[in-house]
Amino acid sequence: MIEAVIGLEVHIELGTKTKMFCRCENRFGAKANTLTCPVCLGLPGALPRPNLEAVERVVRLALAVGAEVAPVLEFDRKHYFYPDLPKGYQISQSRTVLARGGAIQVGLRQIGLHHLHLEEDAGKLAHLGGRASVDLNRAGVPLVEIVSLPEMRSGAEARAFLEEIRLLAEHLAVAEVRMEEGVLRADLNVSVRQVGDPRLNPRTEVKNMNSFRALERAVAYEVARQSQALERGESLAQETRGWDDQAGQTYPQRRKETADDYRYLPEPDLPSYPVSAAWVADIASCLPPGPADLRQRFFAHGLSAETVAVILESRARSQLFEQTAALGADPVVVGQWIVGDLARVERESGESLADRAYAAADLADLIQRVATGSLAGPGAKRALELSYRDRRSVSAVVAEEGLSAISDEGALDPLIDQVLAAHPGAVQDLLAGQEKALGFLLGQLMRKSRSVDPKVAAKRIRERAQACNTGF
């Protein structure tokens, strides 16, 4: 039996306002080279100044995964030449990393972490018509690198690990992980061996995986490729491979003639900063709940696995869920609203909960109105949409838009009579005992008014139909 041995090096761009070593804005999508200054351009004479907010974000993440935060903050230079690397070196950490150890729970297994460190991102190259251009807006953006131990055993597990890291970043406000912007990237290290064999075979490194699916597929591809090579009696070499998503294959990248030598140098432009235990304790004392805690709490409320997964996707959703439930609303119903209509409204309005706060009081009010029957299904959906989009309270929307459920017979009867008069055939069917006809008539009634309470209306349609019949 062959097993896979998988380790990941995960990079997350921190969602700080400014870059790691200068005060340029940290923002995706600006015009090329507009978010730059002498420091992040690596101009002669410019010097780095560390961004404390970035350090704090990594400390939050470290505490959440149970890693040990170092008592000092020190940086090292990692040297290589590439046009997107302005200084010819990356300011990173190697001798002293910001945090060591820790673990992330994936399913039933704990995946150990080697360390977490802070570094700066490089710029981006664009190749156009045989010419290469460089955009340095991303140069100097703070990154946390999370290095796992080689403890994952399958593509699914590697994917789940990476997804859990995405959730950690989300819930600890480390970053807003937009995969399409490359905020989260992983380098995959994978080798195979006979189960029970403690030795490791040479591994393949697949760089820059930026989707969960690609990661899982790349593991599957590599495990198959390496196993087959071993079966054929070939020896494997440690190598770096690229991932071709279209072909679903990894491919060998040009082998370097010599081993990488990054010539690490303690960053002489920056002193060693003490990281006080009191400061770390302060951060720990107001650490937001991580995804594992939330998941447990959500399950305890009786939510389904699917619902929990959708709510956990976003910190804002999770907070809204907990706050609404705390106001006394039935948690299962709250979950249904968040996962169903609210998620739809978020999508349709193009404004996610993270962009605009939605008051738990409004959602609780909405659920309360439905429970008491003062708001019917379609009206409730409408009330949610309008209150979300227009930033109005549910009570204001219901009052101003006349969305209250019509449940008193005096108001219903004229509408029902119009429907029955327009569809005599259906009335006959209903009286003949065909229950389908009731649904049809109810539908016709709902088209006339959204605010009809369907339960009351169904009962009344039956009664009015009988009355009509006797009237003939």
């Binding site: 002669p44 040297h79 302005p86 010819g88 340095l136 010539r263």
Partner: protein, 491 residues
């Protein structure tokens, strides 16, 4: 007024404030003297005449309007050309940067401007400040004003020569291993290396980050004290600067050294020319005569200092100079097809031989398998040296040494022996390695050439250092500006 160029910066400032002469007259005088003498001297890489005239006119208007003016108002200052100046070409003496117009100014430059100093131009240096003779400039030769066949020292040779020749009363230089003090000694002016972290490095084109420090050159200790007060102090743009308060350095100058403990460490005399040792002893005696008490100290690890320096400085240089890749600034060469070709042509043709030598040494010292034997070991020695000096300064307030082991040498003297050139820094580089302040003060001439005496003090004790330097200056007399002479070997 005809001999204004003999005056100290303080005197020029006073005359401007008193309305005896306008800033425009001062600038015109400086530009005329540069036009006459710099063709022989070669101190300036660029004279910013229009900019200086414009600043002077503005300053004159502000003075007439009765505005409060800065402590260096009306004083012409030259800048070593490794200090970034917004809109003024900054080359670091390298062909690679022959066309670089910085979009920002170094903190020290901005502070001089805020103090209303008049920036006159940029001075010559060894390429990227790597050298002790200014011979490694990619652009021109700078002569010693005392003898045009001799080097002015380096790497701040242009700044030292310009001040000595009376082209400007003040200049900024930079130090990594003695690049202010050694040329100051060779040209007979005062040169100060402040404590590491005393003056911002932001905008100083880095040679070796953990050793670099900007320092002033002038003809009097008082002038140097005034500049230090302007440029010193914490800078948010340079995290290695310290919050230590900046005192009024000049106010202390007359205080003498009564009761201070002074020492001449034997290890810092060894190998120096006998005449220079004798002159250092004279300076020492002057301090003792002024009431200081002689004590003895020893620096047991000093013999390792030169080797330590020549591991650490090139290692950091090899890293700092990685950014000169032709991508974003500077002179790009080659690379129409291949990236590697652009790197090798840009750097291969852009850097001079001395810079390449140090990049090679530094790259080697940092490479896998060697880093422990060289760089890490050198850092350990540096720590031992720091302990030596800490012990010495627990015994003595001021150390006295010759600034250089020898008098100014001839052009080309060390062309075939870079190690002999490196040995020139033996007495100055320990201060850089341990981060303490040191100053070179003129101590008269010998055989018609200037001699410099070095004083060293504990970290952030610049006030005491300058106070002691004033005693030495009083003893030997302040530096006189000298009109540069054409030498026999000068074409």
């Amino acid at each position: 007024m005809a001999d204004w160029w003999l005056e100290s910066a303080a005197a020029v400032h006073r005359s401007f404030i008193a309305g005896e002469r306008s800033a425009s007259e001062i600038v015109d005088g400086v530009l005329d003297r540069i036009a006459v003498h710099d063709p022989i001297l070669g101190a300036f890489l660029e004279v910013a005449a229009d900019r200086a005239r414009a600043s002077a006119r503005q300053l004159d208007r502000r003075r007439l309007a009765g505005e409060q003016l800065g402590p260096l108002a009306g004083v012409p200052v030259a800048l070593k050309d490794n200090l970034a100046t917004d809109g003024l070409r900054t080359t670091a003496g390298s062909a690679l940067l022959a066309n670089w117009l910085p979009p920002y100014s170094a903190t020290v430059v901005r502070r001089l401007e805020v103090a209303d100093a008049l920036i006159i131009g940029k001075t010559n240096l060894d390429e990227f400040a790597m050298g002790s003779s200014t011979e490694h400039s990619a652009f021109q030769r700078t002569n010693n004003p005392y003898d045009a066949d001799l080097v002015p020292g380096g790497s701040s040779g242009g700044s030292a020569a310009a001040v000595a020749a009376g082209l400007v009363p003040l200049a900024l230089g930079s130090e990594t291993g003695g690049s202010v003090r050694q040329p100051a000694a060779y040209c007979g002016v005062v040169g100060l290396k402040p404590t590491y972290g005393r003056v911002s490095r932001y905008g100083l084109i880095a040679f070796a980050s953990s050793l670099d420090q900007v320092g002033p050159l002038g003809r009097t200790v008082g002038d140097v004290a005034d500049v230090l007060r302007v440029i010193a102090g914490a800078d948010p743009e340079d995290p290695s600067t310290c919050l230590e308060p900046v005192p009024d350095y000049r106010a202390a100058l007359g205080g003498g050294v009564q009761g201070w403990r002074v020492a001449m460490p034997e290890e810092l005399q060894k190998g120096a020319d006998a005449k220079l040792q004798a002159r250092a002893e004279q300076a020492f005696s002057a301090l003792v005569a002024a009431g200081a008490r002689p004590v003895s100290v020893c620096l047991p690890h000093l013999e390792a200092a030169l080797a330590t320096y020549y591991v650490i400085a090139p290692a950091e240089a090899s890293s700092n100079l990685s950014r000169f890749d032709g991508v974003r600034f500077g002179v790009r060469q080659g690379g129409d097809r291949e990236l590697a070709d652009m790197y090798s042509q840009t750097r291969g043709r852009g850097f001079g031989p001395e810079v390449k030598r140090r990049i090679m040494i530094g790259t080697y010292a940092l490479s896998a398998g060697y880093v422990d034997a060289f760089y890490v070991q050198a850092q350990r020695l540096r720590q031992l040296l720091a302990e030596d000096f800490a012990a010495a300064f627990s015994m003595a307030d001021i150390l006295v040494t010759p600034t250089t082991p020898s008098l100014p040498f001839r052009f080309g003297a060390h062309d075939h022996d870079p190690l002999a050139m490196y040995a020139n820094d033996a007495l100055t580089l320990p201060a850089n390695l341990v981060g303490v302040p040191a100053i070179s003060v003129p101590a008269g001439l010998t055989a018609g050439l200037p001699v410099g005496i070095q004083l060293m003090a504990p970290a952030f004790a610049e006030r005491a250092l300058l106070q002691a330097a004033q005693v030495v200056e009083d003893h030997f007399g302040p530096a006189a500006a000298i009109t540069p002479r054409r030498g026999g070997g000068q074409p």
